[in-house]
Symmetry: D2
Subunit: 339 residues, 4 copies
């Protein structure tokens, strides 16, 4: 049993905790919060021991019925691997804590590549993470791009990728962030950071990305175009997506044309929190023009990296060497099946 | 086993179907759809036989892998009770179908009181529904008002209610309805229809409501004020809400201040579809000034009437005469426990 | 000519600048910005001398073609009155600057009453501001409440006011603030601060307010109920509103049912920036039940206090002693006529 | 004086009316409405005679103080040109009315190319419209694409265009249309109709477009990429945009990064209704990589076609043969100057 601590039990951390708890070969030894919140109550109901950064705040927790198991330092001591799911930039600060005690740590895409020195996507470079102390699971958008670029690259060879990233303004449970009524260029300049981030995983790919933020909470949408090295085939592309366990195909018969309907479908299917761990490619959008491929894919920003974190734990621990085996174990434990 | 058909497998219908299927004393004999959609696939995965209104469209279903069990008429013949969850106004048209074959039918709050002649809320008038052929479960907003008014009335006597209803513009899965950036008075005139609708259930209550629509999808928010007949007590009010199985208390320690955080909490708790079947009163908002009571309550428009429909089925079937027993059976089958 | 400086040329500051510039008896001697922005270009096009807080940043302005006239201290020296339109809380810090040089200053509603010691609404207490050094123009919501409460009070005597404030999440030009999809109780507790704030202007009024924030940018909406001392009359109330120059009546024939349509109308009328300086009461919403009055009013958060600032300048300067005269002068210069 | 009638005084019609009224060589002889509304009051204030489609509804207008000058047929008889700004698809039905009396008519982009047989963009094909009876001014998005593609084509030769169109869900004054919280693929299939529509104006261009709808009201955003025939130069591109009177450059110094800030700037500049008749290219977004050009442009859906309609009137009337002259006349009358 790999003993896993979750430092930062928020949007990503709480999902990784549940995903880890579902695996046969892993267990959660603790999760951390900085202040009492509904998420702390959820941790309690799930039976995850609750650790806090600042023990001076212990009273604030116990006053509202939340038992504190100890400090974050205490938690780190009993873990084999820590998943750092703190807000972007905090992971970098936490790194020295992990170094000091020689603890394996996974950072999220909000940290720079240099923090871990290795950027991870199960499909693309699982083997490279085996035995490493530090790994960074790339962001939701980068994960979504890497999966499909890698697939198309295997099929037809990718010459060049162009992608417009239309990003959600906030997560559904956030209420302070906007915009309310605007399209915000983020950044105005081209390319956005997403292209270079893909290259941390797939260094041989040529890619230019443009990014904006819109007033929605559910998912990101990517409008992707690729120039391939060889003549592409729509049939072959669809077939390969169908065979891929983490790229879902949103089929015509469902009538789904939007992120909102897609999330509703995930909720109806009984997925926990309505999570879509797979990238969601719209079948009807796939167009092939000679060597050019076009399509739309929706990315659930809260979920797609969750399964990647689980695989990264296994790779770093060295218990499973074969990527396909780990991916299958992760997926099965979470009942991830075709849309 | 009460055999239940769901006519209209949409936002409400699909939830009532799952709630019915979870009961020990009921089963789903069929659900109806007018065209293929992701919801039809969900019915298939759940094992609910799929019936369609227009058999000429059978090919459209079978073509995308959806087996059709028969026509809506076929479905009605094998049911003891039909839950009509078609869009507002369609239920009225369907009534003659049910009358013709003497089938018990439940209508939703989108229909006028006169369609059924009896408007239902489990808390308030379960007994009146026993043995009836037609019952109307009042709308989500009216259900939310009836529950809490009835509770305050029992505690302190209600002299007069004033409520401002801030309504969501569309359900999360709808993408055509707005507004995107506006507060819409609906209606401009005062009072709105909600007050009179409460009176179909609680005829002795004086109530004036004002209503508007805002650009959100998650829940309605009610800003409620009541003049009581007797001096009210905050402590007593909180205690009674805590004892009520379908009025939840959103507690201070959770830090929840919005509909979005409340829905996130429901999803984290593992509620199916993140459903909040209970009215959600914000504990910190409850203010008592002499005989006056003020508070905010959030109402999950997709969910609160679901449990009421289940009780209505039992009352009409006459199998359970005691309201408290039916409510407890319904709640337990759905694992409805305190927030 | 009263020489007016605007400290903080943002949403409110830029509007007050234009309103002041339109008056016969006032002129703008300068406006301040902290960094280059499109608003600084607008100041330049309008011919308002641009002053900056931190002269070390002068280069950043001149580099993009924006001439700097001097420091904020320089600006304050040449003014008779400064309108402090800096973000909430900053005015309090600025006060000592104004005190040091004995400059008359107007603060906005984002500051506490105590900062100025006198809270102003032209309708209600113009006379009290005559000759004062410090005056606080109350917030947009409080201004909107004071105007109509004062009117109803004169007509029928106000016993008690209850108002639910449904507030816009951000101004149209802001892109960082949310919520995107939520109703946020702000605060959860009842009463909100709006009631006590009304009392700083109208100390004899009994008022309880509840407040929430919704995902819209255009206007606030108030759902108001008043208990009057005397039998009220709808006809009389409508007549008095029609006679009031800063309470507009949104008439039935316009078909306007929302804040968005109201703003569109204001833009169509050629109002600068589509500004609604008047409170906007929906004629069809006005309901009188014996001594009770109900109505909806929309408040343009960017605009209604602008005309109040102009009157406050005149009152403090002591040049016009009669409120009605100042109000008429202000309105006429801005071509404020009935909706 | 060219006598112009506006059939359909809504979002586009009311703007074209004001633009026409501002020209030295044109006048408005009438505008039409189907029912009383705030826009009808605006027409009255502007002094535009009001005509109605169905004379049976005359009473509804006069009852609310709106004088009716006659029927739409009456209006058409006294016009030299009619601008049909009715909702998409209605123009096609109206065509026979115009044919019957031999009246010149302009249709909007909501109609198919075939309705007029000639699709117009001032920059690209003014000459082709001279003397024609029927002309279709292409949609706001197509106009925005045609202007910049034509400019880049003149500069560097355009080999291929790829554009992702992120469209606003509704206009600011609309309150029924959504989505509230979703990205909607419209259409899911690729290419969207925008590419083929560009080809009705610029038949030699290769273009593929993808389109989606997001919950905002202010402007559309285009993420554009072009492959050029010759090596492109950023400097040259910027210079040509600066020289173009209907492509504005959103400059770095303004700090504008979003549609909302851009609209705020337009309102601050005193533009009527905050209208942006020019396409708005973000200077900082322009990236040139060899023969590839990338940039973002924002398109004000309510405004950019307005100036095109005015030019089309002049071309069809044959009074001005030179495109540059008409464009200059139109722009000057509307005080269109650089952002």
């Amino acid at each position: 049993m790999i003993k896993v601590a979750i430092n930062g039990y928020g949007t990503i951390g709480k999902r990784v905790a549940d995903a880890v708890a579902a695996q046969m070969d892993m267990k959660i030894v603790g999760v951390s919060k900085t202040k009492p919140s509904f998420e702390a109550y959820v941790a309690k109901k799930r039976g995850y021991p609750l650790y806090i950064a600042d023990m001076a705040k212990k009273g604030a927790f116990t006053k509202v019925g939340l038992e504190v198991a100890g400090s974050v330092d205490d938690m780190l001591k009993i873990a084999d691997v820590v998943v750092d799911a703190t807000p972007g930039g905090v992971g970098k600060q936490n790194k020295s804590l992990y170094e000091k005690i020689g603890l394996k740590a996974i950072f999220q895409g909000g940290e720079d590549h240099e923090v871990a020195g290795f950027s991870f996507c199960s499909d693309c470079n699982y083997a490279g993470a085996i035995g490493r102390q530090f790994v960074r699971v790339v962001s939701c958008n980068t994960t979504g791009l890497c999966r499909i670029i890698n697939l198309v690259d295997s099929a037809f060879g990718v010459e060049r990728v162009r992608s417009v990233m239309v990003r959600r303004g906030s997560d559904p449970g956030e209420v302070k962030k906007g915009p309310i009524d605007a399209v915000v260029l983020d950044p105005v300049s081209i390319p956005s950071h997403h292209g270079p981030d893909v290259i941390t995983v797939l260094p041989h790919i040529q890619i230019t990305t443009m990014a904006m933020i819109v007033p929605t909470t559910f998912m990101h949408m990517h409008a992707v175009q690729m120039d391939c090295k060889r003549e592409a085939s729509r049939e072959e592309l669809v077939r390969r997506i169908e065979e891929h366990s983490r790229i879902g195909l949103v089929r015509s018969g469902t009538g789904i044309k939007s992120t909102a309907e897609l999330k509703e479908y995930a909720l109806d299917l009984g997925r926990p929190r309505g999570d879509l761990w797979e990238s969601c490619v719209f079948a009807d959008s796939i167009a092939v023009l000679g060597k050019e491929v076009y399509f739309f894919q929706a990315i659930h920003q809260e979920a797609d990296v969750v399964v990647e974190n689980v695989d990264a734990i296994r790779a770093m621990s060295g218990t499973v060497k074969d990527p396909a085996t780990s991916i299958r174990m992760t997926n099965e434990a979470m009942h991830l099946s075709a849309l």
